[in-house]
Symmetry: D2
Subunit: 344 residues, 4 copies
Amino acid sequence: MLVIMRHGASDEQIQTVISFIKKKGFDTHVSHGELHTVIGAVGGKVIDPRDIELLDGVKEVIKITSSYKLASRIFQPQDTVIEVNGVKFGGEYCGVIAGPCTIESLEQMEETAKQLSQKGVKILRGGAFKPRTSPYAFQGLGEEGLKIIRDVADKYGMAVTSEVMEISQIPMFMKYVDILQVGARNMQNFNLLRELGYINKPVIIKRGLSATFEELLMAAEYVMSGGNRQIILCERGIRTFEKTTRNTLDLCAIPVIKKLSHLPIIIDPSHGTGLRDKVAPMSRAAVAAGCDGLIIEVHYDPDTALCDGAQSLYPDQFGELYSDLKKIAPIVGKKIDNEQTVEV
Amino acid sequence: MLVIMRHGASDEQIQTVISFIKKKGFDTHVSHGELHTVIGAVGGKVIDPRDIELLDGVKEVIKITSSYKLASRIFQPQDTVIEVNGVKFGGEYCGVIAGPCTIESLEQMEETAKQLSQKGVKILRGGAFKPRTSPYAFQGLGEEGLKIIRDVADKYGMAVTSEVMEISQIPMFMKYVDILQVGARNMQNFNLLRELGYINKPVIIKRGLSATFEELLMAAEYVMSGGNRQIILCERGIRTFEKTTRNTLDLCAIPVIKKLSHLPIIIDPSHGTGLRDKVAPMSRAAVAAGCDGLIIEVHYDPDTALCDGAQSLYPDQFGELYSDLKKIAPIVGKKIDNEQTVEV
Amino acid sequence: MLVIMRHGASDEQIQTVISFIKKKGFDTHVSHGELHTVIGAVGGKVIDPRDIELLDGVKEVIKITSSYKLASRIFQPQDTVIEVNGVKFGGEYCGVIAGPCTIESLEQMEETAKQLSQKGVKILRGGAFKPRTSPYAFQGLGEEGLKIIRDVADKYGMAVTSEVMEISQIPMFMKYVDILQVGARNMQNFNLLRELGYINKPVIIKRGLSATFEELLMAAEYVMSGGNRQIILCERGIRTFEKTTRNTLDLCAIPVIKKLSHLPIIIDPSHGTGLRDKVAPMSRAAVAAGCDGLIIEVHYDPDTALCDGAQSLYPDQFGELYSDLKKIAPIVGKKIDNEQTVEV
Amino acid sequence: MLVIMRHGASDEQIQTVISFIKKKGFDTHVSHGELHTVIGAVGGKVIDPRDIELLDGVKEVIKITSSYKLASRIFQPQDTVIEVNGVKFGGEYCGVIAGPCTIESLEQMEETAKQLSQKGVKILRGGAFKPRTSPYAFQGLGEEGLKIIRDVADKYGMAVTSEVMEISQIPMFMKYVDILQVGARNMQNFNLLRELGYINKPVIIKRGLSATFEELLMAAEYVMSGGNRQIILCERGIRTFEKTTRNTLDLCAIPVIKKLSHLPIIIDPSHGTGLRDKVAPMSRAAVAAGCDGLIIEVHYDPDTALCDGAQSLYPDQFGELYSDLKKIAPIVGKKIDNEQTVEV
């Protein structure tokens, strides 16, 4: 931590700051610049920079250690690669997850999975417990839904991912699901994150609507500090003043996260835009920017979807998009779904 | 719901929209304007407006029923007034809650409660389970902390409020606490909200960092739909581009919520600004704007606070502020802590 | 400027950074901390911190000199007080400006000014050139409007403020107007700001919709660097995700600006909220927070207003509000419009 | 315009609204729904929806005509294609503009232009008048800079684009420049926009930091309403809570604008991210999303750049990127710089 004193701060003010910091268990070293005296502080435990900012004569306090360690690229320079059902996320791999927003019925999952599987998709998504803004809206099929998606996935040789909403559901999810998702609204549900640190399955953490990149990495740190290192980060749009799209999809998350962390970063263009005709352009853009994966909503018949049909692709639209992605990926040195891809 | 067709939409397009809406179980009535045909739809169940927006010829879809009912001023025109330990929130009353961010020790709570009690405060706050961004930061004393705050409050004739973080903690909180708080990060933890609908104690719901007023009211609706009508809403700052303050405290929440809802709206100037020297001006402003209560962080010795000391008032600062608030409140027709207040 | 090297940065990396900084004309002093080496740099000219951030081994670069000097409270510790027509802004004074959004006709200004003047208002506002989002909307009466407001103000012994939109209009404004306003959309029209530095009349600078406090102070610095020190800053709401109100009025601007700068800070609750029934609560809040002035839209007949009638007060509403403000101000040590105010 | 009355609104309230609207010159037609009465209003002139929202019994007011006409895809269904020096923007074409942030010297422009020209770039950018946040920062070479960029461009057969900051500079820009740019800070400088409607050269309008897509299109409408139809829209990042990147580049601007408008939309990844290592990924993403052009900062020696060196590419980096873009473009049916591009 560095404390920058105001130009003209008195010796007494400087001494007060030094005493305050020392009382908190830090060692200090002082450097007198031309305009500003700077006090460095090391070795102490937790201190809130604002406590020092309120002292007289202090101009600014700078924290110089990141709050995340295990998630940091400095801690682990090489990319983490996570493999599920033969699909890899991270490094030179870009994995694709697809499926409906919500598990509605056996027929719906069966038909959707069949079509996705034929196109080559190996990981199926679908919500069983839905975080709905209204208490009066459909809340998902619950465990019955998880059974359906598991059965259907097994039939087509696919893996399963679904969103877990609270601690008590974790054992149930461990039974049916291969990758657990933490939704944007739960990204700072720290109790849930902590518990997910004790399981041995991959976890997708979605960026909160107003979470900074640092907070997203701190959420990963919560899980990792419990022992689970299989974390996939997911950008799904942030909330801004612009309301034409449901959210503002921040694709710069890709190069930013890849510089700060070794963890894979995937993109959810369906929630990120909220409208079907924006999903394909943003998916192509995400792959061109070097993302490590995509999670896309596809429904065999979006017009009848109980939830988010408007942002779900028709299977044929997905097919065309999937084919485009395989052409774009090698240009940026990536492979889609670990397959042999078209060389250009 | 109203569907506005584009200028020049064809008859076929209009018919397609009507069929689509009818298939979803709605009755329709069509009105041909000079520029736009408008299709009204009533009586159906859930429909996602975006599904219709994607149909050809559609310009815009407007939902005309609010998603919240029980929380709405239309459902209940008169103000809800909630009373705890003789302190009232709502109507002509403005209640004050004060105490430290975190319960640190018996001594800390004892000293703080004593000083607050002497000044007239009747509701004590203090966190036992802390939602911390870092897994390595102090996470609170847990149930031990709740015991401490309960004992101290009883000694000084005060009521207690504290933040509950997950469903499994509810029975424990029912034992020690008079008002349960839902933190900003949990405002859309819908499972937690639903369970709080089954208890018979007041619940403070804090606005999420990027939650709209409508979403805040929907969170209240979740609790109310379970039967618990004792909800206090709390504005505590939203996240914007401005970083000088920790958050942007949106005091317009007061007249906005009071128009839309009958529920009391209180202000948390401590989290809303994040800096001690901003707390008093924003508290005075909140009362002048007609708020139904305040929740203010006060610590008997903020310099030693384990958490958020920088935004905690010294007891003497609080005392002066409290006295100012009692002068401002009657100008806007309110009473602070239900006391006889100075007439001007 | 301080350059913080990453934990584990090599000597070579450190040397490269030092050479780079020296080449830019800075003196450097190096301090080896336990975890991080910190390089201080002083005395050089302009350098973009990002240039250094891109060098290998650099963790972070911190600028430690504010960009504004003349506007800073360090440069001038005592409050700037600006007086116009006997009304003072700053220090212990809170001045009130009122009038319609737009100058529509002699009758409208005459009737509005008469009523405001009777209530004690001494500064009249009204737009002659209107920045309208649509090219097809009413653009204001131009110079004809300025003549009207000047004549009416003279008749009732009032001063005049109006918004200047471009450099070529300055001489015209100098002829008719006592305080020139720079609108939110022009807050970073640097050419206009620079020219306003050469005039000898007060200038109100409104905060841009997405301008930080630092940028607002830099805008003041532009004008002040030309010689004109009579600057009044104005908070009028920022753009956020919340759309219930037109903008989010950031009242914390008051204590923030008063700490950073000696310049008066006034509030525009009319644009800040966009709805008449929010104007009075936010005005009372602003005065309770210690603002140095208010600029409020009042129209003798808002229902017929050509522009922003929905956010304009009726004269009687203003009268009641004005009377409330005079009761609140002394509680926070301020005087409204420099008058003898009611003691409480 | 549609006025939706509250559930339970009285006949008297409905009649009051109808009278109010008729007084403003509108025809009304009333439709009684099951829950809500809806009043349609057509044919009148300007009305502020908020005026009606404030009437008793009104729930909501909906505007159903867009504010922009000439810029709308409904007005002109086919894409506008703008050609400058053989480079096309719009339709199946994606044009590339490159060059330094600021014109610093003949040598700098000469060296940069030579290298860009060799790689195939045909439009050179460079600022002569710089909008700088600080009055003390370098403000550009002015007309001398425009002469330099014109001479250098002519030598290498390139066209020139540069930012115009105020009306009085327009004649000077017409002399030296082929495409005039309006910067983000001037996007709502309506006087400047209006004047640019009278020239016969293309204008690039950059999206303001907090401008909505609708406001960007309204800015185009201002210019177009004067007669100039050669408008290129430019997304360059918006201001959000996330500070890791300088701005949040909203690539969804591409499909959004292409649906709403026939005008070309180009991307500025340099200002949009503010850091060199983010420019290439975001450029690739923009082309994959189907943008109509790119404007990229390139400097022959970014380490010595007077301005924004940190976000400028080295010429070799640009060369590699340019080659990647030519591979990505045909996958989405576009041609970079109108050349024969590599088929995949």
